[in-house]
């Protein structure tokens, strides 16, 4: 009996997202699909000990859930039209079903991602829905990750599902015409989830590993199902950033900057995978923003020490990125790379010009960068003022401790 429970648990972990994605297509309703799936798993716990584990558990579950859904629809006394449609769509024999489903399962997972990230849904709802439906996180887990309450999140998800139904958001992979915009929306959700896990926007802990792991999981799935260059570029970027996780915080939870990180802690297999993926992406010659950021991350990853970093190559990638995305934040990062290539004075001139334009006046990292360059030039008073300004602009505890440490070092 324990054995069967273990088997069902394992099948749930491995298959529940696939089963759900297919059920949503067949049933056409998120909630009903979810209820039916859970009933099917309950039926499995009852029946598998008696009848044995089916040869194709996935097909068994879809078939069982489909009957449960039809029962429910009947109970709800909703007209029989939907019934008939469903009955026609699915062959009754599990054998035929298995053959049919194997082709469709992967597409259904892709459909689910595109529906959850549809640009007609509010951005926060896209994130919540993706984590809930694609990744299978509970509402409580998502609420914890985003420092929100479960009821707020539940309401957000309910509203999103309602809009999917009422506004007719389809369960399809977009047409070629709509694919670029829609893929962009999907990648943005994935990267937001990754970043929320990699550098939490507030709170005591610097990283929330689970969210990053989920983002990478969805990233891998996307690359497997739809190997578009920017999807590959984003996965490469996430892998390269993730490779530094262990080195990014000290045992006491403090922030460790790139140049001070113990590079022996970097995850080599992730770096190798990221760089391989990046090279394949660059070879497509369709280079987008995520790919360029991955290229920048790869220059760090390839350097045995901070001093040995190829800063000329780094500035080169930033130049390309700046042409594609002319934003002040990219300019700031390029200025820091220029400082490493040409010396702190050259970098400071660029940072000051940026701050003078006012775009980054309230961005703590701009002031932290200015402070660091002033410190390296021995201009302590200016460095102090800039560190203090940066400190007043960030809420994240580890970053605050880092800035306070730098300020204390200036006093010596």
């Amino acid at each position: 009996m324990d054995d069967i429970h273990g088997t069902v648990d394992a099948v749930y972990r491995a298959e529940s997202r696939r089963v759900l994605a297919t059920l949503i297509r067949l049933i056409g309703d998120f909630d009903l699909a979810e209820e039916a799936m859970h009933e099917a798993f309950r039926a499995a716990i009852e029946q598998w000990p008696r009848d044995g584990v089916p040869a194709n558990p996935r097909a068994w579950l879809v078939s069982a859930a489909r009957f449960k859904a039809i029962d429910r629809i009947r109970v709800r006394k909703r007209l029989s039209r939907l019934d008939d449609d469903l009955a026609e769509q699915l062959p009754a024999e599990t054998e035929d079903l298995a053959a049919m489903l194997d082709v469709e399962f992967e597409d259904d997972r892709l459909r689910l991602i595109f529906t959850c990230c549809h640009p007609a849904l509010p951005p926060e709802a896209r994130i919540a829905l993706t984590l809930r439906e694609v990744c299978g996180l509970t509402t409580e887990e998502i609420a914890r990750a985003f420092l929100s309450t479960p009821s707020t999140l539940a309401q957000r998800i309910v509203r999103a599902k309602n809009k999917i139904k009422v506004a007719g958001i389809p369960y399809v992979v977009p047409t070629r015409e709509q694919l670029p915009e829609r893929l962009d929306a999907v990648l943005r959700v994935v990267y937001l989830v990754f970043n929320e896990g990699y550098s939490a926007s507030s709170g005591r802990s610097l990283t929330r590993h689970d969210l990053s792991a989920e983002a990478i999981r969805v990233g891998r799935l996307l690359v497997e199902l739809l190997p578009e260059p920017e999807a590959m570029g984003l996965l490469a970027l996430m892998l390269l950033q993730e490779s530094r996780r262990a080195a990014r915080t000290s045992p006491s939870g403090d922030l460790v900057l790139l140049d001070a990180q113990d590079r022996s802690l970097w995850n080599r297999p992730l770096i190798a995978e990221g760089i391989d993926l990046l090279q394949r992406t660059l070879a497509t010659q369709q280079v987008g923003g995520y790919t360029l950021q991955a290229a920048i991350a790869s220059v760090h990853a390839a350097a045995p020490t901070s001093a040995a970093t190829n800063w000329a190559a780094m500035v080169g990638w930033y130049d390309v990125l700046l042409r594609l995305e002319p934003t002040p934040v990219v300019e700031l990062n390029r200025a820091v790379a220029v400082a490493m290539r040409d010396g702190p004075a050259a970098g400071l001139a660029l940072v000051d010009a940026l701050l003078e334009r006012g775009d980054l006046a309230d961005y703590h990292l701009a002031h932290a960068a200015r402070a660091d360059l002033c410190r390296r030039l021995g201009r302590s008073a200016e460095a102090r003022a800039a560190y203090e300004r940066a400190l007043s602009l960030t809420q994240l505890e580890p970053e605050r401790r880092f800035l306070e440490r730098r300020l204390a070092e200036l006093s010596h």
Binding site: V166, A167, I169, P170, P174, Q178
Partner: protein, 122 residues
Amino acid sequence: MKYACLVYLTESEITALSQGEWDALNHECMAFGETRVGNVERLGSEALEPTHTATTVRVRHGRITTTDGPFAETKEQLAGFYAIEAKDLDEAISFASRIPPARYGTIEIRPLRTLVVEGNTR
């Protein structure tokens, strides 16, 4: 599914166009009226006269109040609408993106609501 595609334009931007440019945009709309978009069925469409020709009517406590102009001061004004029948929202988006004024203003897509005896959505 049935949708309304509501066309919003900033009237001051339209008045800033030359007569030739404005006529050209209208010719585009006339040509679009003859264009098929996927399997979208057109249920009806109209262009509206500008808001300074509008009249607003309200009934409160059984009394009719009639005033000039639109009710609220907004940046963009309703300039026309299309009612369509499309397969799903993506097809409606594909239709809306081809409405010529989409290049100037915005198109709001709204599902049409069916009135029922009870349990109406809101």
